[in-house]
């Protein structure tokens, strides 16, 4: 029972979703502080390349991940400096860095393409791994998966259950009010932009060292853009973002299954499935339909329902803060 096709597919979905979860969590932290870091895709490529090359040449996975985190943090630092200190447009800086990351990673990594290299292995949790169905899906997984799950939980706890997390959200929601409560908005924004960048770096390395091992040009196949979309889909919450990552992974493998079993429809058409789903949900949760549905519910349930499905971006997202 623990080795059926379905269980194997589910386990693979969970693993595939892990780098996405890490990247989404990183960007969520950044955006909650009020900074949009659009360089995500470029950062991920750079980090995937750096992580693999460093691990390949030094033989150390740890060094590979560290180097990737550093590259991600560095890219993020450029965005932070440009947008917070120099007050340039966040979107423009991030976008240019994405383009840079794509080409720079292709150039720097050209001598390392399609090489076999080190990779992160499986780690079975004693006892739990023998649970029926759940065991192989959740507890006999790649170490990257455990890291992603712990990270999502930690980020959620940090954001919604701690005082520093409250400061972080305040800075992205209404910086002048956060300032009045004693938060140093500029420092917070730097901190979480760089931290978010480092996490995206780790996500990139997770991909090249754990999922699709090795390096080739455009290795992460647009995963960074997907992460950006999932941040919104997840309503800027790590838990919902993780769910989004899993749903995305699931529709992707569903598409693969369809491709193999349904005749007469172009194979490429199925690849659009995850996107259609995502657009549909985004359109629904950000429209006033949600409020209309809520008004049909008994008053007691309305608040909870709205909190559950409505997504509102941090109000000061992309808005610069300057104190008199």
């Amino acid at each position: 029972m623990n080795d059926t096709l379905l269980v194997r597919i589910l386990a693979s979905i969970a693993l595939q979703a892990a780098p996405l979860m890490i990247a989404v969590t990183g960007e969520t932290l950044t955006e909650r502080a009020g900074v949009v870091n659009l360089s995500l895709d470029g950062k991920m490529l750079m980090a995937a390349m750096t992580g693999f090359v460093v691990a390949y040449t030094t033989g150390s996975l740890i060094l590979g991940f560290l180097a990737a985190a550093l590259v991600g943090a560095l890219f993020a630092l450029i965005v932070a400096f440009g947008s917070i200190t120099l007050k340039h447009n966040q979107v423009a800086i991030g976008f240019v860095l994405t383009l840079l990351g794509a080409d720079l990673s292709a150039f720097l990594g050209q001598n390392f393409t399609r090489l076999p290299g080190p990779s992160v292995g499986k780690f079975a949790v004693p006892y739990l791994k023998d649970l029926p169905v759940l065991g192989p899906i959740f507890f006999n997984q790649n170490a990257i998966f455990y890291f992603a799950i712990l990270l999502v939980a930690a980020a959620w706890w940090w954001l919604f259950r701690t005082q520093p997390g409250l400061h972080l959200r305040g800075a992205g929601e209404r910086p002048e009010a956060a300032f009045a409560r004693g938060a140093s908005v500029t420092r917070l924004r730097y901190l979480y932009t760089v931290l978010g960048g480092a996490l995206v770096g780790v996500a990139g390395a997770s991909y090249s060292l754990g999922i699709k091992i090795g390096w080739s040009e455009g290795h992460t196949a647009g995963l960074g853009w997907i992460a950006l979309a999932i941040v919104i889909f997840g309503g800027w919450s790590p838990a919902r973002g993780a769910l989004g990552a899993v749903v995305f992974g699931a529709t992707k493998s569903l598409a693969t299954v369809f491709q193999q079993n349904v005749q007469g429809v172009s194979v490429v058409a199925f690849n659009t499935l995850p996107w259609l789903l995502m657009i549909g949900v985004l359109l629904l949760v950000s429209s006033d339909w949600v409020a209309r549905v809520a008004n049909l519910l008994p008053p007691r349930l309305r608040g909870g329902f709205l909190r559950l499905v409505q997504v509102t971006p941090p109000r000061a997202l992309g808005v610069e803060f300057g104190q008199e």
Binding site: R161, T162, Q163, P164, L166, H167, R169, G170, E173, R174, E176, A177, A178, F179, A180, R181, G182, A183, A291, A294, N295, P299, R302, G303, L306, T312, R315, Q323, E324
Partner: protein, 489 residues
């Protein structure tokens, strides 16, 4: 705590907001800070509260020089301020908002915070749903929460910048009673910034008056209102009486109107407002007055009933369509709904222009000229290129009127003189009376019963979403309205 301000100066561009102000506050006393719009009251108080640094000058606490880097810094030294527009976090819950910056512990103890908050709320007779989002509360409730937060933070000196806006008469009484108690029993210094002279007289023992960034007078209270007004403006301004209304044919006819939102359901409103009539809506803030006006303006869908303007059914028109039909709506939240921070005054006027006057290419020269004219007419202190958030609170309010177009049939006003000094409030009404002479009907809500009685022809009272019978302004008193607000017919 003894507080002394010495020679405080602060300029914004060419504006000398504070021009060498020196004054002192003793512990255990309540002070009033008065002055016309733009006199520099908020600027001075923000300096004292650590929100912005002075260009020069000193703050002494108990004789010791103090430097506040942030408001949190000031609160740790015992100085707390409730800002004119509450500085809180609309999407947060009441509890989260209360906890932000409360202490330095990493873990949030929601349960303890809830108990603490509930205790303070009870002590001051405030009732706020703790699971509600801040954004769904009224301005008054948000101000209360700010006050409560400061008290919990250990403020010894409390600055309240126009705090009584939007809270009910009974809440105000409770607030004043506690403020007195805090001064007398706990030795707190309290500074009340307000334009309502009656309040200042009732509560404060001493008043400071600012004009154009300078301290122009101080006096022990109570004293004749005339004396205060003279200090504020340099002369005693005339009060424009309400011109009598001619009995005209009905303009706005509302029958069986119901409006529903998440917080409140308003049911079965029947109302007929005549051309050129000033109709006042009284009641606590958030009792349905704003919903009624928003439904008429097309900002909220009507759940039932019919709204007709001059015989035309406007029930299901949206905001832009009602605007085209000659309805104007002026919101209470200045920077939230009415004005756009970061846009210049000229850009505001351009955006507010009726569609037929809008051209694809903007003629900036002409637009600036129009803007100069409009802001001169409404006495907005600013230039066409100022941005909305640079204006003082009162000037933001006037700007909303400068944006009203010609030839309107109905003006809906939510708290038309919120935050205006007496002279500006009077001036706004003079402008509105001029509209009324052209046949424009005016429907407004004000939390100030005296203003309602003085300015309206007829009045309806709202209480918990229910509209009372309609009373003639000339034949009613604030007491009677107070009873109706309490739900007694």
């Amino acid at each position: 705590m003894h507080i002394e301000l010495r020679d405080i100066r602060k300029t914004f561009g060419d504006v000398r907001a504070n021009d060498g102000i020196s004054l002192a506050f003793e512990p255990g006393r309540i002070y009033g800070l008065l002055g016309e719009n733009g006199a520099g009251k908020s600027t001075l108080m923000k300096i004292l509260a650590g929100y912005q640094p002075a260009d020069s000058g000193r703050i002494l606490l108990n004789g010791q020089p103090a430097h506040f880097a942030t408001p949190a810094d000031a609160l740790r030294r015992g100085v707390g301020m409730v800002y004119q527009d509450p500085l809180d976090f609309p999407p947060f819950t009441v509890l989260e908002n209360y906890l932000l910056g409360r202490d330095r512990a990493v873990n949030l103890d929601f349960r303890q915070a809830a108990a603490e908050l509930r205790a303070i709320l009870d002590r001051y007779g405030f009732a706020v749903d703790m699971d509600a989002a801040i954004g769904s509360l009224s301005l008054g409730e948000r101000q209360q929460l700010e006050l409560v937060r400061l008290l919990a933070g250990g403020a010894q000196a409390l600055i309240l910048d126009e705090p009584t806006t939007g809270i009910s008469a009974s809440q105000k009484d409770a607030l004043f009673a506690t403020m007195r108690r805090m001064a007398a029993e706990e030795g707190k210094s309290i500074i009340l910034v307000s334009h309502k002279l009656e309040e200042i007289q009732e509560l404060c023992g001493h008043a400071f008056v600012l004009r154009k960034g300078q301290l122009v007078g101080e006096t022990a209270l109570p004293c004749p209102n005339r004396a205060l007004v003279e200090m504020m403006f340099g002369q005693v301004p005339e009060r424009t009486p309400r011109p009598p209304a001619a009995v005209e044919q009905p303009l706005l006819e509302i029958s069986g109107l119901g409006v529903r939102t998440q917080r409140l359901t308003v049911g079965d409103i029947n109302l007929s407002i005549r051309r050129g009539e000033v109709f006042g809506l009284a009641g606590l803030e958030g009792s349905g007055q704003a919903l009624l006006m928003k439904a008429v303006a097309g900002l909220l869908p009507a759940a039932s009933g019919r709204i007709a303007l001059d015989g035309l059914d406007i029930t299901h028109l949206d905001y832009h369509q009602t605007r085209a039909a000659g309805v104007a709506y002026v919101a209470a939240g200045r920077l939230e709904e009415g004005l756009i921070a970061g846009l210049s005054l000229t850009e505001h006027i351009l955006l507010a222009a009726p569609r037929r006057d809008q051209t694809f290419f903007i003629r900036w020269g002409a637009a600036r000229e129009t803007t100069s004219g409009r802001i001169a007419l409404c006495e907005v202190v600013g230039v066409p290129d100022s941005t909305a958030e640079q204006l003082s609170g009162g000037n933001q309010q006037r700007m909303l009127y400068a944006m009203l177009n010609e030839g309107l049939r109905l003006i809906l006003l939510d708290q038309p003189t919120r935050g205006l000094d007496v002279r500006s409030a009077d001036y706004i009404w003079e402008l509105l009376y001029a509209r009324r002479r052209e046949g424009t009907a005016i429907l407004f809500y004000s939390p100030d019963l005296d203003e309602i009685i003085e300015r309206s022809d007829r009045i309806a009272v709202f209480s918990g979403g229910v509209m009372s019978r309609i009373v003639e302004a000339a034949r009613t008193t604030a007491d009677e309205l107070g009873h109706l607000i309490g739900g007694q017919q």
